[in-house]
Symmetry: C2
Subunit: 334 residues, 2 copies
């Protein structure tokens, strides 16, 4: 694919050679149910005061599946429906499965989701409630990925692979369009890093349209594979993943996604579990938001390096709010 | 003022003789900061399953002041700034004061808020944090209203009177425009009833554009003045108000607001405190939303009369999320 050249305002054209293309991301907006687009983006002064910087929240939890993932599944399922396909399979840590269930049901597709038995019960319950077939595996998200691939092969149906499949990156990238369109300007965006769909998607758009904005990916210390890979510029896998941030607990980075991430991210940082918990608590106490652990990674990153962000205007994407309430209450207790 | 005649689609023109006018409400959208407009409107299946009907949420908490009130204060302060005025006073149960503080700060106005000492500490803290002068009075919201009027007279500055001042109704009415524009269609809207700005504003728009939609106002049994007034078609005051729904705890309905409400509301119902608490808990558990007591009145109304709403599509406006966290945790504990 030829490098993409985009002119924006008076700035130098920015050339990125990722798998993403701005025209396709713009076109994606036409396909995604409006309930998932143009989500709230607003300054939260109280949170900012506590963190020592200006904080804006991009809120992806106020929709029927309580996460940003439906932006991707709307694309996937509309294409499948257009091709006359009637079934789809994915592995999911929980949010992609709900989103695929929602989008698939709307288009008459049979949806099968493979997930780890250890995924939050609330996420599994909601996948079932959407009418999807849910298959549980022992082991972690990587085991679910293997199993989902086998199911798709055997049945001859489309496998949706988060972060690898371009629609999953393009869907997430529509968040970037909204950030770039929204006033006022900001210095930094903090993006939860798992497989990399959101980071590469949002990063691609921002580095194209607002190249001065710093794109920082945030991952838990307990699941650092993609962050380590980014720093070493080669795929690094880990033996295990151990974090409450279930949505980003992969161990096997995808090479082409890493290639894209290397072009669009300015940094990738790791945060401690205690900071993730503190981040969830602050989002509840000072913003009135229920965030799942992955959605608190941005706040956690500021907590761990206040000097770095002091006085800056930071956007944090609150990417999901699907929690088991008992665990959530324990985490956010004063 | 001549009665307003509006044609919509193939339906009969609807004639309403309230103080509101659709053209002014539409024009208001141009003045209000976009952060407060086009708020999320989405179906919440899990909540609907528990309540036995289809439930859509109109979410007014994901903005800098965590309530719908800034729609009104944006109008008030932009007009004052246009007139070269430099100060403004209001009485507030807590949310109007925050909103006026936010909108006034943005336009360089000195904002004074008079509130009851018994208002939630979180609301009072946030009013102060916005740089407003906060004056606390003994007694309830009605005492704050008296005191604010005295302050405004003495200083010769504009007094913003919630529900009486047309901007407060027009601001809230912009929610109605968004409900009328949003697909899919719905049968009923449940609106928290306090002074009446939201009920008359949203009600006016819906009864004009979607007259088949049932407009139901919901008030706590412990603060029933406006509901009783609506049923008796005359102003009924109460000696006291006793409810956790601090945002709607007025005792002295305003006659012209009652006149408007009589034209746009199909019903006004009273709910118990226990139902309000259950409503807050359900919004947290089944929608992941932090709602203040007033914002749970709609769910409370369904809980108290499930048969009435069975199988219908109900929109509930989650109008605010400013809570004292200790009280909120107590209310929403399992």
């Amino acid at each position: 694919m030829a490098p993409q050249v985009v002119k924006y305002g008076a700035m130098e054209p920015v050339v990125l050679n990722t798998r993403l293309r701005l025209d396709r991301i713009r076109a994606a907006r036409q396909v995604i149910d409006p309930q998932f687009l143009d989500t709230p983006l607003y300054r939260c002064d109280e949170l900012g005061r506590r963190l020592g910087c200006t904080v804006s929240v991009k809120l992806e939890t106020a929709n029927p599946v309580r996460s940003f993932k439906a932006r991707a599944t709307e694309l996937v399922t509309s294409r499948l429906a257009g091709q006359g396909r009637d079934a789809v399979v994915c592995a999911s840590a929980g949010n992609l499965g709900q989103a695929l269930g929602w989008s698939g049901r709307r288009r008459g597709l049979d949806v099968t989701v493979v997930a780890s038995r250890r995924a939050p019960a609330a996420k599994l319950d909601r996948i079932r409630a959407l009418g999807a077939e849910l298959e549980l595996v022992d082991g972690d998200f990587e085991a679910a990925r293997e199993r989902a691939a086998a199911v798709a092969r055997r049945r001859g149906v489309r496998l949706v692979e988060d972060s690898l499949d371009i629609e999953t990156c393009e869907g997430a990238a529509t968040i970037g369009l909204e950030l770039a369109a929204g006033a006022p300007s900001f210095d930094t965006v903090l993006i939860a890093l798992g497989g990399g769909a959101m980071a590469t998607g949002v990063g691609h758009v921002l580095k194209t349209l607002l190249p001065a904005v710093e794109v920082i990916c945030v991952q838990p210390l307990g699941a650092p594979a993609m962050t380590r890979s980014w720093h070493e510029r080669r795929v690094v896998t880990t033996e295990s993943a151990d974090t409450i941030a279930d949505g980003v607990a992969g161990r096997f980075p995808i090479p082409v996604v890493l290639d894209d991430l290397l072009q669009v991210a300015d940094d990738a940082v790791l945060v401690r579990e205690a900071s993730i918990v503190a981040g969830m608590r602050m989002l509840l106490e000072h913003a009135g938001l229920v965030a799942e652990p992955s959605a608190a990674l941005g706040v956690a990153a500021v907590l761990e390096d206040r000097d770095r962000f002091a006085g800056r205007h930071v956007v944090t994407i609150v990417c999901g709010g699907n929690v088991d309430l008992d665990a959530y209450r324990r985490w956010t207790r004063a």
